[in-house]
Amino acid sequence: MPAIPLSKAPQPAATNPEQIRNFCIIAHIDHGKSTLADRMLGITEVVEARNMRAQYLDRMDIERERGITIKSQAVRLPWKSGIDGQEYILNMIDTPGHVDFTYEVSRSLAACEGAILLVDCAQGIEAQTLANLYLAMENDLTIIPVLNKIDLPAAQPEKFALELSKLVGCQPEDCLRVSGKTGVGVEELLDQIVAQIPPPKGKPEGPARALIFDSVYDTYRGVVTYVRVVDGQLSPREQIQMFSTGVKHELLDIGVISPEPVSSKGLGVGEVGYLITGVKDVRLSRVGDTVTTFHKPATEALSGYKDPKPMVFSGLYPIDGDEYPMLRDALDKLQLNDAALVYEPETSAALGFGFRCGFLGLLHMEIVRERLEREFNLTLISTAPNVVYRVTTETGQEIVVTNPSEYPSGKVDKVLEPIVRATILSPSDFIGTIMELCQQRRGTLKGMDYLSEDRVEIRYTLPLAEIVFDFFDQLKSRTKGYASLDYEPIGEAEGDLVKVDILLQGDTVDAFSSIVHREKAYAYGVMMTTKLRELIPRQQFEVPIQAAIGAKIIARENIRAIRKDVLAKCYGGDITRKRKLLEKQKEGKKRMKMVGRVEVPQEAFIAALSTNADAESGKVKK
């Protein structure tokens, strides 16, 4: 029996690096990573069968419901190799599975020597997996290609083994075949991890250096920091120091996850575990930063640290204005656990008080919004997401625009917008329609490769703003759901961009302004004016709805004046009922926003803004 009882397994801080294997699993959502991880926990007996639950490692409800991993974790698995009969410690580092968290993925990868490339052999590799695979290869990780779900009737292991072998550069027969669900091949996989992945190397006597690959806020314990020790040793009660900030902390607790936290006597070279310092804010313990000791500090940080940079911005407003303080508190709390979330107060004439929030990407945005609504019981309205523009005015002044309302009204010399490199994997049948979509979205084709006979990888550069606006939905619907997308920012480019304002009765409604490409300004104007004509109730006067670029009107609709708003009868038996209706309407009127003289029900704002938002959520829910 290759499992080893925990008490008899090599102990933390006393494990020879030669016995350690650090690995992660690269997989697409739904390709069975969590099920495989569950199976490994079972086979290595770190979780007793009676305590097992599905997706053991996914902590947040949202993760479990959506079947995706947002935050990574690390589990220490003792394993006796079936090949050489020796005892080993396998550290499985879970990686986030989505495009928005590329940086977190890269840090998780940096903590490993090897990666399991896990692919559903009924579906084949997806774009995000491919992107992460490339990332792993850049980090010189040993890749073990694994085909999962071989128990499925629709499995095509031969076809996808060929695809994987081409990508990884191995023989098709080198691809392991497993089923996380039935357990077939999982023991062999554990043995192969030991056999193929090299042990960690580091200087046991050198100054301590540990890489932070995750940092999670816990209500009871404060920030729990996950590290991989590269050099030296970390011990309890020691003073530690963060490289990027120079901040000093005392190590209140140190240990490993197996898969519940277990305090240890420390962590040595190559080991993976957690640190607790009593810090309450994850921004003081940032992913990618290097931990060293105060009494014997290292002189050089581990490479690769980056500040998280928000790429997508959106205004978040409470539907009930009274909930503004609750929203502020909720954002403060979320930020404790999300170093990438930024926000600042913002006022909208149309929506009242809220926050302009910056996110890593669309999924990140959707997750934050959903957590705010679910965990803090808030009802929110969000403005259409936009990217960051750098605008140079004619006078040479540079303005960073994260909100269309900040766009300068005067003449603009040039506008820079973020550009991404997008990778799309799709059955080759859809090449034409994908290229058409990318062309429409101002894309430039960068290359195309066949992964197999009928699967193709298409590379484009595109303005991020085009992806933010319902690109993924379009891609999915045009390819019957088969295409997958990954993108990463690669810089900025000048764009022929304009701000389109929407005016009601001559007054600009700030929440509806948008920065769009000049050629799409008209389409945006027509879409918004038409939509608003349907959504805004008739007023006692005619209301023109206009779309304008500066002073130039590009689209116009009219809401005709209301002619009749009266109930004809009002006698003795009607009075109480009519007054009660009036009282209800009084309440409803409080939910009306005045835009100039025009009464706009909040529902109209929500509906006008939500078509895009729905598209976004469709995107992340896949």
């Binding site: 006692q540 006067f541 004046a561 209301i562 002619r563 009749k564 708003d565 009266v566 109930l567 004809a568 009868k569 009002c570 006698y571 003795g572 038996g573 009075i575 109480t576 009519k578 007054r579 009036l582 009282e583 309407q585 009084k586 009127k589 003289r597």
Partner: protein, 381 residues
Amino acid sequence: MSRRLSFYVHIPYCIKRCGYCDFNTYTPAELKGPDLLSVSSNYIAAAISEIGLASEAVGMVEVPSIFFGGGTPSLMPAHELAAVISEIRSKFSLLPDAEITIEVNPDSVTPEFLDEMRTAGANRISMGMQSAVPHVLQVLDRTHNPENVAQAVANARSAGFEHVSVDLIYGVPKETFADWQSSVQSALSLPIDHISAYALIVEKGTKLAAQISRGELELPPEDETAEKYRYADDQFVAAGFDWYELSNWSKPGGNCKHNIAYWDGSHWWGVGPGAHSYWNNRRWWNVKHPNTYMQKVSEGVLPVSSEENLTTENVADEYIMLQIRRKEGIPLDRLSKKQIDNCTEYLATGHLDEQCWQDGKLVLTQTGRLIADRIVRFLVM
């Protein structure tokens, strides 16, 4: 100043229920009881008992008006209604010039009934004409032949009724603008001094509401219904009927004092099942079913189902809600500065009468009356 109390007497019976009607009324089939005649004599006895209970509750008051509504009051034997009038006369001080109105169905009202009611002291007839167009009447489920209206009005006049009113309904599915024109002209050809014209209200739970939700019938566009109002108002005014409430027009001296009591905050007592009453800032309404009603009254208790005590704010809201419907309008000194500011914009849009405003009153114009509920919402915010 002596206290006054108007009486509404509800007659909760009809031969047949009309498709648009949600009033508290019952047909012989629904009652599954003995014939209407024996039901009615029991019912009138109960109504008379309630009047006795009212007199115990409010003491001696002056009664400026009585209104028999329904249901179909003209289904009752005239002597039964006459007994109700006598009871009110005996328990209260029925004023010599009191207005006593009977709603009648042009199909079933007979010359004898009209003569007897006139003799009993009734002096005003309100007739459910609804439309002069057969296919519109059919949508409304009305049984009458349009020609019966002229005959019934003539009978009322010859019985000595000085005040005769007809009710019209417009904005009915399948009613064209021309249909409405012919109904208006038909009403104007009658020897009457009062017209009520109501845009159809589709009430929840009615047969009509079901037909509309099933898509069997379709309401005409609101804008066309607004146009119908304007047409009627223009025609009525031209024929000497002035508006005094937004759905009511009369020749000089022909307005309905009883209905005005609902709008000017006067007190009224509703006799009968489901009827509402208003007395000293308290409003209550009776139990709905005639049998329960009769049971309660026979036990000597007021058959109240529920009640509300009006707060100062309720009274203020109701004042605006009701008074704005009247030609008298709202004196500006009854409005706050904010309310006045809120509605100046309706002056600019022509919904408020400029001249009246100058004279210190908020009075709706024709277009203003059509959006009266909206203006009320502005005022009470």
